[in-house]
């Protein structure tokens, strides 16, 4: 019995040793691969930068690994630049056949390959890929459709506004993905987003109103203002936030009314919005909220008051019974002054 236990413990010790050796070997291999990648990117970076700047570059002969490394660097740069620099990156991928290669993979029977191609085409600034990516939006695999949506957003494809808005409405894609793509496309998406403000479930409305807050202008204020009376507290809160972002002064009355909303996070957002608008008529209401409301709405009101009128804040913060939020906001304002 003791002899058998000895054999078992010996075998376990050997197994542990082998496992440790395997993990150590794996770690060394990964570190080498990472170093190789960093070295290749370092070597190719001047070529990538010259290419972005429109220099006539004669690339040295590159092996497959180096070609991939150059493509990775250029794809990263494509996220940061616009205009002629972006067009040059697109032309590079087009001329080298990368776009055609990835487009062929969009037809692959394996979903992961289609998703990878859809993702890559967005990074290549490949406008020629827009029709294929629009088709990929209806791919039965959700990951492929989501990758196509992201790429269409990065390409700023105006043709994608309608299908993306549809996807936002029916939830066929994760709504955050559709919304992000529409945000990347920018203000041209706003007219279609306005349509989503009416007669849609509240989970759709909140995305639409957030996007309008980010992409819209003063002319959107009346439609967003109406949502301050929505039955959904989520919608009311997001509408208040959007009005603040739009700088909608005409919404000040309605936002002051929203300071009395029965839901605390609506009051928080109303206070933020009044601060962003700089509504001088809201000072008394904000000061009251900062004194008597719960923690979050009171803190939001005090911060908003600091933005609207530091003088009033200073006066009310030093009055008896001002409470901690006004005092704290006044201290912060004093430090920043």
């Amino acid at each position: 019995m003791i002899e058998e236990l000895g054999w078992v413990s010996g075998a376990l010790a050997l197994l542990s040793f082998l496992l440790v050796c395997t993990l150590a070997g794996r770690r060394v291999t990964l570190a080498r691969a990472e170093r190789r990648r960093v070295d290749a990117e370092e070597r190719l970076r001047p070529f990538a930068l010259g290419l972005v700047e429109g220099d006539s570059i004669s690339l040295p002969p590159l092996n497959a690994y180096e070609s991939r490394a150059l493509a990775v660097v250029l794809t990263r740069y494509a996220r940061q630049v616009s205009g002629a620099a972006l067009a040059r990156i697109g032309a590079f991928f087009e001329d080298r056949g990368h776009v055609t290669h990835e487009l062929s993979h969009l037809e692959d029977r394996r979903a992961w390959r289609r998703a990878s191609a859809a993702h890559a085409l967005g990074g290549m600034a490949a406008e020629r890929a827009i029709p294929a990516l629009l088709k990929a939006l209806t791919d039965p695999d959700r990951d492929v459709a989501a990758a196509a949506a992201r790429s269409l957003g990065r390409l700023g494809a105006l043709e994608a506004v309608e299908p993306l808005a549809y996807a936002l409405r029916d939830g066929r894609l994760p709504r955050a993905v559709s919304a992000q793509a529409l945000l990347s496309i920018g203000p041209p998406a706003v007219p279609r987003l306005r349509d989503l403000l009416a007669d849609t479930p509240s989970e759709v409305t909140v995305f639409a109103v957030d996007l309008i807050g980010l992409l819209g202008d003063a002319s959107d204020a009346p439609q967003v203002m109406a949502l301050l009376r929505d039955t959904s507290a989520e919608v009311r809160a997001h509408a208040a936030r959007a009005l603040g972002r739009l700088g909608a002064e005409e919404a000040a009355n309605e936002l002051r009314r929203a300071l009395d909303d029965r839901i605390p996070f609506v009051r928080v957002n109303a206070a933020h919005a009044l601060g962003a608008i700089g509504d001088a008529f809201a000072t008394l209401a904000l000061a009251r909220q900062a004194r008597v409301d719960g923690f979050d709405p009171a803190e939001a009101a005090a911060r908003a008051l600091a933005r609207v009128s530091p003088e009033v804040l200073e006066a009310v913060a030093s009055a008896p019974g001002a409470g901690p939020h006004l005092a704290q906001a006044a201290d912060v304002a004093q430090v920043q002054a």
């Binding site: 972005v52 996220r79 940061q80 972002r245 920043q336």
Partner: protein, 127 residues
């Protein structure tokens, strides 16, 4: 000015790709470039080296671009130094916040290197 008489420009961004792209454009336009990875480092470098202009990302760790601009305005060494904000936020409120903090101009991300070069030249020319 740098030691060799070239205008000295500070670029601060937590994204190394942006630092590379902006530095490359500015260096070939004849400027000497200093880099910082966050707002706090940008303020420290600016106070010590006194660049002719700073390009600050708005969303940076430790100190955002607005706060970094405000701090630069508080120091005698950097009070009059022009600041260009590099920002993905282009809502009126965000732009106004940048100007309130003391920025002279802003450039929207993703950015055109050519446009950024022109803005730098214009802002330096105004001084």
């Amino acid at each position: 000015m740098s030691e060799n008489g070239q205008p000295l420009i500070l670029i601060a961004d937590d994204d190394p790709d942006i630092l590379e792209l902006v530095s490359f454009r500015l260096e070939r336009a004849g400027y000497e470039v200093l880099q910082a990875r966050n707002g706090e480092e940008a303020v420290q470098v600016a106070i010590v080296r006194r660049p002719d202009l700073a390009i600050l990302d708005v969303m940076m760790p430790r100190l955002d671009g607005y706060e970094a601009t405000r701090r630069l305005r508080e120091h005698d060494e950097t009070r009059r130094m022009p600041v260009i904000l590099l920002t993905a936020r282009v809502q009126e409120d965000d732009i106004a916040r940048g100007f309130e903090a003391g920025a002279d101009d802003y450039v929207k991300k993703p950015f055109s290197p050519q446009e950024l070069g022109s803005r730098v030249q214009a802002v330096l020319g105004r001084r």
